[in-house]
């Protein structure tokens, strides 16, 4: 059952087919995601919304290759993730995926610059330091490059996280509640920066959020409830 139309005119970057995730919990099978499908093209911006426990984060984890689905399949930049090992999926993430998290997830023992360097150095990129510094400059933190996360404010940490997410020029950027830990003013600045960078890089953006205002900034929204896609009204294309 195809719930969300493929856009044939543009190149597919992320395709999700009948994705189901079931956990064994206290001897019972608990299905947290039921047969979800959608497809995104390069440069699309996409929001997944829904109440707590609706399966948003599970869906994001499966799309980004952080976890394996019980059934169904995920194609990311024409690579099918389902049969890859954990290390192979890690390589795919390093090459094609960027992340932004609600609690920033910066490595506390590394400076801002070193945090941005991680994905670049992992892929052995030459001139990594120059690229990382340029990105920090782009997010307005060139002068805080050698500060540790504990020495930065929440907004600054999220901007470092943005620089790190774009460092490897990802095909898809996954953002999990990117403004969940920020005050409204800082949130707005971070969101504007996120969309600007996304536009400049032509990255596909997948956003998980409770914030309907933020979701409204994306081209399309998928609403989940109890692990199922709520249809049909909320699936309308806003474009």
């Amino acid at each position: 059952m195809r719930l969300y139309p493929i856009l044939p005119s543009r190149m597919s970057i992320l395709r999700v087919d009948n994705l189901t995730k079931t956990y064994a919990s206290a001897g019972h099978a608990l299905t947290v995601l039921h047969a979800v499908s959608f497809e995104l093209a390069a440069g699309d911006t996409f929001a997944i919304v829904g109440p707590s426990g609706s399966g948003k984060t599970t869906l994001l984890g499966l799309c980004a290759g952080l976890d394996r689905a019980t059934s169904g399949s995920v194609w990311l930049n024409n690579i099918q993730l389902d049969n890859l090992s954990e290390d192979e999926r890690a390589a795919v993430r390093n090459q094609h995926v960027g992340f932004i998290f609600q609690n920033f997830q910066l490595l506390p023992t590394l400076t801002a610059l070193e945090n941005v360097l991680v994905p670049l150095e992992l892929r052995g990129q030459r001139g990594a330091a120059k690229t990382a510094l340029a990105l920090l400059d782009r997010v307005g933190l060139a002068d805080r490059a050698h500060h540790y996360p504990a020495q930065l404010s929440g907004g600054e940490q999220q901007r470092v996280s943005l620089a790190r997410a774009f460092a490897n020029r990802p095909a898809v950027l996954f953002a999990d509640e990117p403004t969940g830990n920020l005050d409204p003013d800082t949130s707005e600045r971070v969101v504007n920066l996120l969309f600007e960078l996304n536009r400049e890089a032509g990255t596909t953006l997948v956003l998980v959020t409770h914030d309907l205002e933020l979701a409204a900034k994306t081209q399309r929204t998928l609403r989940l409830r109890g692990g199922k896609v709520v249809e049909p009204a909320v699936m309308a294309e806003k474009r």
Binding site: G61, D87, A91, F101, Q105, L122
Partner: protein
Amino acid sequence: MTNTSWLFRMAWRDSRRSRARLLLFMASIILGIAALVGINSFGDNLARSISEQARELLGADLVLSANQPFEPKLEPALSKLGAARTREVSFASLVQFRPGKGTRLAQVRARDGGFFYGDWDTEPKAAAQRFADTTAAPGALVDDVLLVQFGAKIGDSVQVGQVTLPIIGRVLKTPGQSGITTAVAPTVFLPLAQVTATGLVQRGSRVKYTRSYRFAPGTDVAALLKTLQARLDAADIDTDTVASRQQQTGRAFADLTRYLSLVAFVALLLGCVGVASAVNLYVREKLAAVAVLRCLGASGRQALLIYLIQTAGLGLVGAVLGAGLGAAVQGLLPRVLGDFLPVDITVSVSWPAIATGLVTGLLMAVLFALLPLLSIRRVSPLRVLRTAFEDDTAAPDPLRGLVIGVISVFILVFAYGQTRDWKLTLGFGAGLLAAFAALAGLGRLLMGAVRRFFPAGWGYVWRQGLANLYRPQNQTLTLVTSIGLGTFLLATLFLTQAMLLGRVQIAGQKSAANLVLFDIQPEQRAGVEALLTAQKLPVLQRVPIVTMRLTAINRRPVSVLKKDTANGIPAWALTREYRVTYRDSLNSSEKLTSGTRPTLGADGVPRISVETGYLERVKLKLGDTLDFNVQGAPLRTIIGGTREIDRSRVQPSFLVIFPVGVLETAPQFQVVLTRTGSTAALAAVQQALVRQFPNVSAIDLGLILRTLDDIVDKISFVIRFMAGFSILTGLLVLSSSVVISRYQRVRESVLLRTLGASRAQILRITLVEYGLLGLLAALAGIGLAVLAAWALAVFVFEASFGPAVLPLLGLAALVTALTAGIGLLNSRDVLRRSPLEVLRAEG
């Protein structure tokens, strides 16, 4: 793809904010490595010193010795040997100092010269030369310990038998003689020319005759000796060359250092258990960072390598520090072991010992750290999304089994390298496993007991402190094992030492005899007994002693048996001088175990009684024949029975007892046992003996006891020194685990304080927790020690066992106080500063 340099860069960057803490984990191995490097360096230096000073050990190139005067027919051959020669006649005798009249048994060495090699260190320096000068007036040289004991000085006199000589110098050091030898048998040196005049060398006296030779440089002494060996063997003359002395001494001390290094290895293993435990906590702290790295594309292997590089790097720092400390410690060891060493040790850096310590320490630390680190491979990147992610690291990991296998193999290979004996190696491995398992089991049991019988009605501080012992991420098992093992070593040592000394003391007090007179010639017996009666001393026992040598077993000559190495008969049994007695009954310290008591057979062949252990060791059985040479007269005997001897009783004991009616006419001497009530009576009887029967020697059992006490004390100091490494390692493990768990403690402390707990309450909770931990560890260690000491008492020493409770309670209190003290000391930072401040610093 990534290169290795990135892994090193990441390891370096990530460690930046926790390097001091990581170094503290590795501090646990520093002492173990220090002990290992110290002992092995000492062993290398000792072996080198023995090799360099082998000539000094012997004092000559060749030494020949026998228990009877050298046969005249050998003289032509012996007089051609060497470029220079000295003779020595030595025996034990009572000596008396004048004017103080102090009397005691000493070793008398009558020589016609000094030593060819080595320092014969005397005071004044010229005394040794004067002693050797045959034209100078004769004088005696006396060991320093004897002069100190009796307050005698140079210029006083010493009486040996019927000769009285002026003391011309004190002997500080004699070639080949260690401090312990001097303490047990202090020596009086006399000119050889005086020995006849002493009147102490008579038929039947126990005298050793020695000849020392110096050869021209380059002489092949071994080849020369080969031409004489058969004749020397026939005359029962023992030979000692520089090479053989070096080999004997070297082997004995190599064994000593090997066993000490096994003790050091145990300290290292304890440290490694501490490392594994600390790294385990560290890994738990790092799970979130690992998940982020995995999320950003690092493979499980890469994440593991980052933290493995970190721990290995700090392990290397720890190993280098340990090796440096070990190199310094080895400078102390000659002082600790000084009294046992026959050579002067020149201390130098032993690179092989340092390399062995570094490689062993680093490898063990990395292998033990790998056990918790392996779980990093399996950290799911999903942790970045869900903090309460199900435990992805809990499933069984086959690689863990492999690492444990490698550790076990490494331990066994190391133990084999030290002992060169598979049985001992497996015994060491099994003992180690048993000790660790028992301590870990006790720890688990105690934890379970606290949980099961939790005193819900107790006050809050006690309940919180007790609960800390079994809550998640507790350190109870690690600390009970490490501190418990150190306590176990110390307590076992104490209990065994107390048992051995107590046994001798009991024997000394309860037995009627405390003075043994020996070397009494048959014609002197009545006179000696009259002397004792005059002094109002009882004659408790009189025992005749005849010396003889074994010539054949079951008609196979000893010379043939000696060459047959496959028969399993120990060499000492074939070459020793047998001192036997004769009687028809067994005494109160003997028990018949098979056959009959000594009897004269109807066929005229004596049926002798042998000690049970001797029968087994010499592979004999009832009915076997033993041929003896009784000072020239051949005598055939048949083993008629066996006896067990209770050696805790003060009774002369014999391997072989003859029946009456066989040896009465053989040359013999008597031993008489008596008991003196006071030291004044003891001194009086010794002085009277020296005056009237100078050849008779007297063994003061009180003096033997004091000497034994001194020796046991010195040995136990060495063991305490080594056990100290284990205890200190345990305390370091404690320190590091307190520091590593501080992050978690801070959060709890903050929570408790937010909920209204005062600093004093938190302090008391900490005190209860660490006090209980120390107490559990101490009780576990002491419990195991009591068990081990009981097993030693029953199965090895065959003694009754009753541990002294008070000192053990003292030890338990000390360990508990130390543990609680260190726990508090490391937590004081958390308690002193404000919660917010601490949280910021930890973040």
